[in-house]
Symmetry: C2
Subunit: 193 residues, 2 copies
């Protein structure tokens, strides 16, 4: 393979490996083996494991942003249907190879927020972008009259982003997407009514 495709293989297979096994658990050797490239490739392309971590985080977020574009930002749907579609997308998004591996954002937050300032800072930015997309969608619902105009959309969006992370985490422990479905139902029945 060319240098460029080695780099791509390390990122796509490495992302999958880390999502399934955790970041700290994954050695550089595991990652290059998963990618099917020589060990030297890793150091050719990434200054450190933390640098690799930042790149897979960005890759994961790029995929998640595409889902956001198709759901939360899909103006063909009424705002609250977009929100529901976005929450539903968690149910497939967190299931790599048939398992419930949780959301990579939450997994990395739990694992590395304490000891990699670079990853913590990037996670903070990403969560803020996700929250902004949810805020926009809730604001659209206040314009259509589906939610009260006095709603503090940003605060409620922060609650939704955090609670969905919790639901994804419990889904991972239980090996079932039930916590995500329950979160959605209670959110719509109680918080957004």
């Amino acid at each position: 393979m060319s240098r460029k495709s080695n780099r791509q293989e390390i990122l796509t297979k490495g992302l999958r490996f880390v999502h399934e096994r955790g970041f700290a658990s994954a050695s550089v050797r595991d990652i290059v083996e998963a990618a099917g490239v020589p060990q030297g490739s890793f150091t050719n392309h990434f200054a450190s494991k933390e640098a690799f971590g930042l790149e897979i985080l960005n890759l994961y977020f790029a995929n998640a942003s595409e889902v956001t574009r198709q759901t939360l930002r899909n103006e063909a749907l009424p705002p609250l249907e977009r929100l529901a579609a976005w929450i539903d997308s968690s149910k497939t998004g967190v299931s790599v190879s048939g398992q419930c591996n949780g959301c990579l954002l939450g997994n990395l937050a739990a694992e590395v927020a304490d000891h990699s300032e670079a990853l913590r800072t990037r996670l903070l930015e990403i969560f803020a972008e996700v929250q902004a997309a949810v805020t926009e969608c809730l604001a659209a619902a206040t314009h259509t009259g589906d939610l009260p105009q006095t709603l503090d959309c940003n605060r409620l969006a922060a609650f939704i982003v955090a609670s969905l992370q919790g639901a994804n985490l419990l889904a991972k422990v239980q090996g079932s997407m039930e916590p995500v479905e329950r979160f959605k139902q209670i959110l719509f029945a109680k918080v957004l009514r």
Copy 2:
């Protein structure tokens, strides 16, 4: 130190180290260094790192159960005040050495639920016990008339346990307990009203 106190040191200092740094990141060497005991002590007392993980999880849960006893199960307080006190306890409980290290249950769920069946199973049991304590408290609130008698207490308890995990996770990323306070406020203002 005696054999017994070496074991205790490994557990208490090891729990703290894992809570601050993550389970996969913590090597056996890190753990014995944190405990100030010879490396051989670890293998004398624990069959594997997973066995050690189960013991610190049980130790953490024993501490958390004491907090539950003083809050959720404190019959001197009205039920919903107990629930609020339990959520507030998260704000101190997750802060080891002044940092927001998250809840160890959530951290381990994110890190190891995929690749240690023993730890995943124990986490599942512990989350079920926490959920049962919240269910009991909500049921008590239905008896006092603070919540409607028709409430599905168990389902709402599952939502609360998961959402609080999410709030703790975001608190860890943000280095601030604001997500936990926001969760509590929205829970009481919208879900439990």
